[in-house]
């Protein structure tokens, strides 16, 4: 893998001047993803923050071919681009050069409304990488709950009210769902750990067949933290084991980062406005429940990795 210095000399494929919020980790993640590529890439985004902030006509922040068609179908759309490439290459209608295909969607377009299209594309074995930029709610429409929203989090459709303490349900383990499709490569990553993320994108691009990476992208607006804390808060999501970094390569599970000391979840929760109400008297049990859930998942993941 390239060194930071080498990477800094690579051409930026996502330009500055886009309209993402200050402190947004999505463009940071996208820049890291595109830095991981050595061959030309075509990117497809569903409707969402990334799409609306980077392609306000007549401007575009993308220095590579890019397509958006709708909200629930990025995986289907990019699968069509990939097959179009295969067909035209086979018939000698385009130059014989390698092109990679990447879908990049939010948790709304991936966990929820785009879940079927993603499942279909993964099953059909397209040579594509799908990356979910999971900021744990529908941020583009104004912070509504998704199936990636953690239990207890306040969103505008799971508000912390007088009788309801935020979201009632635990989040869906999408990474495991996609791993169950028996695709060659699945991983979890975070832009706070750039080396790990770039490494995973390179592995995903190298496999023959579909690959999936779930990337946690802290959202300063939806989570409620100062913009300058975005990278730091991501690191703590990893050190608390709320967002473990791991990969599944051809059925083999492994942790790519093991925190030296597992930090308490509540320290991480406390820094975010979306969990503020959990620290009011009477809500202690929810924090305990969340910690127990993280512990259980961490144990399970470690066992899965040890089994290899």
């Amino acid at each position: 893998m390239a060194t930071l210095k080498e990477l800094s000399h690579k051409k930026e494929l996502l330009s500055g001047g886009h309209r993402a919020c200050a402190g947004c980790t999505e463009p940071i993640a996208v820049r890291q993803i595109l830095m991981a590529t050595d061959t030309p890439v075509v990117v497809c985004c569903p409707t969402g923050c990334l799409e609306v902030t980077t392609t306000i006509f007549p401007y575009t922040a993308w220095r590579i071919p890019w397509i958006h068609s709708a909200f629930e179908n990025a995986a289907a759309t990019i699968s069509g681009v990939e097959v179009g490439y295969k067909a035209l290459k086979k018939r000698g209608k385009i130059p014989d050069r390698e092109i990679k295909f990447i879908g990049i969607g939010g948790d709304g377009g991936t966990y929820d409304i785009g879940f079927q299209a993603l499942s279909g594309a993964m099953e059909r074995g397209h040579n594509m990488v799908y990356i979910c930029l999971d900021n744990e709610a529908y941020m583009n429409t104004g912070i509504q709950r998704s199936s990636a929203t953690p239990k207890g989090a306040h969103t505008t459709t799971s508000p912390a009210g007088k009788v309801m303490p935020g979201k009632r349900d635990f989040r869906k383990d999408l990474t495991a769902c996609i791993a169950a499709h028996n695709v060659p490569y699945v991983a979890q990553a975070i832009p706070s750990m750039w080396k790990d993320l770039i490494n995973k994108v390179q592995k995903a691009l190298a496999v023959d067949g579909p690959a999936f990476i779930n990337v946690l992208v802290p959202c300063r607006l939806g989570w409620g933290f100062p913009p300058e804390k975005a990278i730091e808060i991501g690191r703590e999501a990893v050190s608390s084991c709320f967002w473990p970094l791991y990969e599944m390569e051809n059925g083999k599970w492994s942790l790519t980062y093991k925190p030296k000391e597992k930090t308490p979840l509540k320290d991480w929760l406390k820094q975010q406005v979306r969990f503020k109400h959990l620290f009011k008297p009477g809500n202690e049990a929810i924090i305990e429940e969340l910690q127990a859930d993280v512990d259980r998942n961490w144990e399970r993941l470690q066992k899965l990795c040890e089994l290899q």
Partner: protein, 391 residues
């Protein structure tokens, strides 16, 4: 070469000869066979198309958009609920100016669920920016699908060619097929102006337009649909010059001196022509013949309103037969548009609407004859009537 084929077999055969770069589809009755037959062509190496068996029609159309954006000649097929599930993507295909070709088989929309023919599915998509051609028989479906490839690519708009479910799709007919080389030569190579795969000239497709650009982009699509009319005419004529079967916007059957006429789409026209001949010869009661005529509309989008107005201007009484209802309490979609097309005539014909055949309800000679009888005896007081339904 003369062969016996069902409408679905004819459409699949056209697709084999077109040999598109990519087909992405999902099966649905009564269009399943088209995809099924085409899959066997792929499996047997009779085409070298890349076939995507999508997990839904929504994804099938999304994949078509992706493939078309990559610069590949792309086709699909569907019917009814499948077209309804594609609905969101139909608008996006036309807005992004993707020349996708869709082999459609008309089937009633739920609910109640029904698998038989009516036009509610494609009529529901009439404002989606797709060119629409309705066919009378398997021959026309075959010929039109071949023409559709050129029409779409020249107009830069998607196109659907439809047949009546089961009536045409599963009915066996004697028809002419062209040689593979003739089709290949007629459709030519697809050379898109822009492609996502042109790595050295990266483009952004599907950007967000706010109040400052959306209208201009829509206006361009509207203009493209206006231009499509000339393209449909040109290619229909060229097809005729080459292969002896010309196609226009509509077919006029004994209309030149007609005093009463029916306007209809699809397979019902065949039945109506028999009634026209009978009436011309023997009249309502054995004796004096009546000057009955027929206009079979083939191109519904773009809507050839000037040509229709001209063709119908001299006919005092007209009945439009719709195989779907707009549920607007004022008649079917073909009726309301034809009625509007006639508004500027100096002398407007009396025009009424008959809704018929919903959910595949059979339409026979006697029913069509009763429509002509109403026109002949001036029973035109009711704006909309329902034919062959128990009230």
């Amino acid at each position: 070469m003369r062969v016996a084929k069902t409408g679905n077999e004819a459409m699949a055969e056209a697709m084999r000869q077109i040999n598109p770069d990519v087909v992405a589809a999902y099966p649905i009755t009564p269009a399943t066979e088209i995809v099924q037959i085409f899959s066997s062509f792929v499996a047997d190496g009779l085409v070298n198309t890349e076939f995507i068996a999508a997990e839904s029609e929504h994804s099938a159309m999304s994949a078509c958009i992706g493939s078309c954006a990559a610069g590949a000649r792309t086709m699909t097929s569907t019917s009814s609920q499948g077209l309804a599930l594609m609905w969101e993507m139909l608008y996006i295909a036309s807005g992004l100016r993707m020349p996708i070709v869709l082999a459609e088989v008309n089937r009633a929309l739920s609910s109640p669920i029904n698998i038989h023919c009516d036009h509610s599915d494609t009529m529901g998509a009439r404002d989606s920016g797709w060119i629409q051609i309705y066919c009378e028989n398997a021959q026309e479906a075959y010929d039109s699908l071949i023409q559709a490839v050129r029409i779409a690519e020249e107009a830069l708009l998607p196109i659907m060619v439809s047949t009546d479910g089961f009536i045409i799709s599963h009915g066996m007919e004697s028809m002419e097929v062209l040689e593979d080389a003739q089709v290949k030569d007629f459709i030519g190579e697809y050379k898109p102006e822009h492609s996502l795969l042109d790595i050295d000239h990266p483009i952004t497709i599907g950007a967000i337009d706010f109040t400052d650009y959306y209208f201009e982009h829509k206006r361009q699509t509207i203009e493209a649909m206006r231009n499509a009319k000339g393209i449909v005419a040109k290619i229909g004529q060229e097809f005729g010059e080459k292969f002896g079967r010309s196609y226009g916007f509509f077919e006029e059957y004994r209309l030149e001196d007609a005093e009463i006429a029916i306007v209809v789409l699809g397979s019902t026209a065949g039945t109506a022509k028999v009634v026209v001949d009978e009436l011309r010869e023997t009249g309502l009661k054995p004796g004096k013949g009546i000057k009955a005529g027929l206009l079979r509309l083939r191109l519904f989008r773009p809507f050839p309103y000037q040509e229709l107005a001209q063709a119908l201007s001299r006919i005092p009484r007209i009945a439009v037969m719709d195989r779907s209802d707009s549920l607007n309490s004022a008649g079917g979609p073909v009726f309301t548009e034809i009625r509007s097309a006639l508004y500027d005539l100096d002398t407007r014909p009396k025009i009424v609407n008959y809704i018929y055949g919903l959910g595949g309800r059979n339409i026979d000679l006697a029913q069509i004859r009763s429509v002509y009888e109403d026109l002949a005896t001036n029973k035109t007081d009711e704006l909309v009537r329902y034919l062959g339904v128990r009230e």
